[in-house]
Symmetry: C2
Subunit: 76 residues, 2 copies
Amino acid sequence: MSRAPLSVRLAKAIRARREALEMSQEAFADLIGVHRTYYGAVERGKQNLTLSSIERIADGLEVSVASLFVSADKLP
Amino acid sequence: MSRAPLSVRLAKAIRARREALEMSQEAFADLIGVHRTYYGAVERGKQNLTLSSIERIADGLEVSVASLFVSADKLP
């Protein structure tokens, strides 16, 4: 079975961490100052994120960018 | 002393890996199919890279995106 694209695995890692913090998508989008619709697309892996956007998300999630990608690497 | 921005630390990690492979900037840019001028800016941390660009670079360097960020995390 082929692996999901990295964008999708990163999205899943972001979602998992946001859920671990018990924040809704909407509350988290507000926290990091992005539009809720945009953030929904982020968690579906539908955005080709820039490094600065990934960093903003990681900061909001209180993790490093490296740790998000390490988590993404562990996903199928 | 404050830490360099993540974009700059990522650029340094990319450069270090490319040099470890003993490839010139020009040869590496050609390998991954990007313009040499653009790639030079990447290694100076002057581009706000997208995930797909970071992935293309990591593939060319034969490392994971996660490992590039882990290397970047170790830099000052």
